[in-house]
């Protein structure tokens, strides 16, 4: 077992509503090792995003907390960079300038101008966006925007990379392509990643562990499924792999039999 890196301990959150506090998450406990790729899966509204936002520091847990490398997380910071679902690039900046904003903020005291420039270019190359560096978000496709979003998050050299349904808004083909890219990058950088998804195949293909969440209110972790598949993984070979299909079936059973949404 790798050393403990990120710990979610008894995380509970209540949101105030006019009719009293609403408990969104109840007693979420999770330990993530360095370099591990963890997916959070569950029905919409089960609080996956809330978990991610608490790790990011955008929300504060009502009780319990998040500990990263022995330090409690209280506010947002670039060591826990986020890839948002809707890319959230600044529309008035080019791809290069979007990444630059992050790089300047994180490395203003440690890198020279030339080093920063090189680092920005390196990260854009990593996501295969070097050809569109000077384009604004409105001039590139959805998949490309998300690539720049990932480049921006990676360029912060985060301890944990948080991805909130990063490919949810993309079409199936682009999504597959992006998953390949992400695996390739992950193979190289070995980041600690928490990714939210509602796509079972994506979760099995990319993760070391899949965290399945029960439905809200008071959602919590229902089951954790370790995915012991050899890396690098190939989508086409895995399609016929019995182990892969077993994992898939297990997640589907969890989602659709034991925790199917009553309201859906």
């Amino acid at each position: 077992m790798l050393k403990e890196h990120l710990l979610l301990s008894k995380v509970t959150i209540d949101f105030p509503t006019p009719s009293g506090p609403f408990r969104a998450l109840d007693d979420v406990n999770l330990s993530i090792a360095e370099g591990e790729f963890v997916s959070l899966i569950g029905h919409s509204g089960c609080g996956k995003s809330t978990v991610l936002n608490i790790v990011a520091g955008l929300h504060q847990a009502t009780s319990g907390g998040v500990i990263l490398d022995g330090k409690e997380v209280n506010d947002p910071g670039p060591e826990r960079s986020v890839v948002f679902q809707n890319h959230s690039l600044l529309p008035w900046l080019t791809a290069y300038e979007n990444v630059e904003l992050a790089v300047k903020q994180v490395f203003k005291n440690t890198k020279s101008k030339a080093e920063m420039d090189e680092w920005i270019r390196h990260n854009l190359e990593l996501v295969h966006m070097e050809h569109a560096m000077d384009k604004r978000p409105s001039e590139i496709s959805g998949g490309m925007k998300q690539r720049v979003g990932i480049a921006r998050a990676l360029a912060m050299e985060p301890k944990v990379l948080l991805m909130d349904e990063p490919f949810g808004a993309l079409d199936a083909l682009t999504r597959a392509h992006m998953q390949e890219s992400l695996m390739e990058i992950q193979n190289e950088l070995r980041n600690t990643v928490i990714m939210i998804t509602h796509d079972v195949d994506e979760a099995v293909l990319l993760s070391d562990r899949i965290v399945m969440m029960t439905n809200g209110p008071a959602a919590t972790i229902g089951e954790i499924l370790p995915i012991e598949l050899e890396r690098p993984r190939d989508r086409l070979t895995l399609a016929d792999d019995p182990t892969y299909n077993h994992y898939r079936a297990e997640v589907l059973t969890f989602l659709h039999e034991r925790h199917s949404r009553s309201a859906a």
């Binding site: 520091g57 986020v82 948002f84 959230s88 600044l90 529309p91 900046l93 903020q105 994180v106």
Partner: protein, 340 residues
């Protein structure tokens, strides 16, 4: 360099000629007619109808100052006003020349003689009044914008400050400029005391009154623009731990530019209306004073001359708005957005 300019010129001309040729040859006759009708014919016809209606209604009404002027009389007065301006300039030129000659003669007789150069004090012409009004409104508007945009940004970013100043804004917003005018006049004459004043008091009075009315729409719109920034972008700023200034300049300002400009345009429109009223009431130089003077003058041409002023005021208001629009287009990041 010359070559560069030549190619540029060539390109421009070519583009233009190309467009003309395509227009004449490629586009079918019917489409050509439609395009022309939409862009030119319809507004022209509408304007013609307006002139005919105006002429026929005007001829029916008699006032104590004579007939209400129709388009023809108004046009004549516009020409007259221009001629008066030209004549006044000729007089001024003559005055300056006479003065210079006299001074030169004096100096030739006695090199130590003290010569005086007096400014020309002829009457202000219609074009002078227009110019006074334009720079007065711009002064007031710019001062207001310099104050209002930062306040709008701060109150958009902080709920506490918004809650603190919102009641004040809501209370002062509906106040008529003319209620401010006496206070401004008294304060300016009490505070602005100088032997060699840089500005006329009347200019300051008008400009400050304009400022007081231009503040509110800009503050309100900027606040709304800042508060309605996409929450994802706010989160990006938080994750990056952007400093206050970086946050304002990289995220807040660019995303609130459309709303800010909506406010600025409303402000400038109000400022222009307010200025004319203030000039009429306070007899401060400008188009408003011209209208009032003509009204008091009561000659048979007065109504036509006032009509000229009405059209001038409207046209300048329209031009000011167009200038703001092109400014907005220049600074806006979203070049594809339709801005009206």
């Amino acid at each position: 360099m010359t070559e560069h300019i030549m190619t540029m010129f060539h390109n421009v001309r070519n583009g233009w000629v190309d467009k003309m040729m395509r227009y004449l040859v490629d586009i079918p006759y019917q489409e050509k007619l439609n395009g022309l009708a939409k862009s030119l014919l319809i507004p022209l016809v509408a304007f013609g109808v307006f002139l005919v209606l105006w002429a026929s209604v005007a001829s029916q009404i008699k006032t104590s100052l004579g007939q209400v002027p129709g388009p023809v009389q108004v046009w004549e007065q516009a020409i007259t006003l221009y001629d008066e301006h030209v004549a006044e300039r000729v007089k001024e030129q003559a005055f300056i020349e006479r003065q210079e000659k006299r001074n030169a003669k004096k100096l030739a007789k006695n090199p130590d003689a003290v010569v005086k150069t007096r400014p020309y004090t002829g009457k202000t012409t219609y074009l002078d009044q227009i110019w006074t009004s334009i720079y007065t409104v711009l002064t007031g508007f710019i001062i207001a914008s310099i104050i209002a945009i930062p306040i709008g940004i701060i109150s958009g970013l902080s709920t506490t400050i918004y809650k603190a100043i919102n009641p004040l804004i809501q209370m002062f917003k509906p106040v008529s400029p003319l209620a401010w005018l006496p206070i401004v006049t008294m304060v300016v004459s009490a505070v602005y005391i100088s032997d060699d004043p840089l500005f006329d008091k009347s200019y300051l009075n008008s400009a400050i009154t304009v400022t007081l009315c231009c503040l509110w729409p800009t503050i309100i719109n900027t606040t709304v623009g800042v508060t309605s920034i996409d929450s994802d972008l706010k989160n990006v700023s938080r994750v990056l731990r952007l400093g206050w200034m970086t946050n304002v300049f990289k995220i807040v300002l660019p995303s609130s530019i459309p709303m800010m400009f909506a406010g600025l345009r409303v402000s400038l429109g109000i400022g222009w209306m307010v200025l004319i009223a203030a000039e009429m009431l306070a007899q401060n130089p400008g188009l408003g004073k011209f209208v009032w003077d003509e009204f008091q003058n009561g000659s048979s041409n007065s109504l036509a001359r006032i009509m000229v002023a009405v059209f001038t005021i409207g046209l300048i208001g329209f031009l000011l708005d167009r200038i703001m629009l092109s400014l907005q287009k220049m600074v806006s990041w979203d070049k594809s957005a339709i801005i009206r």
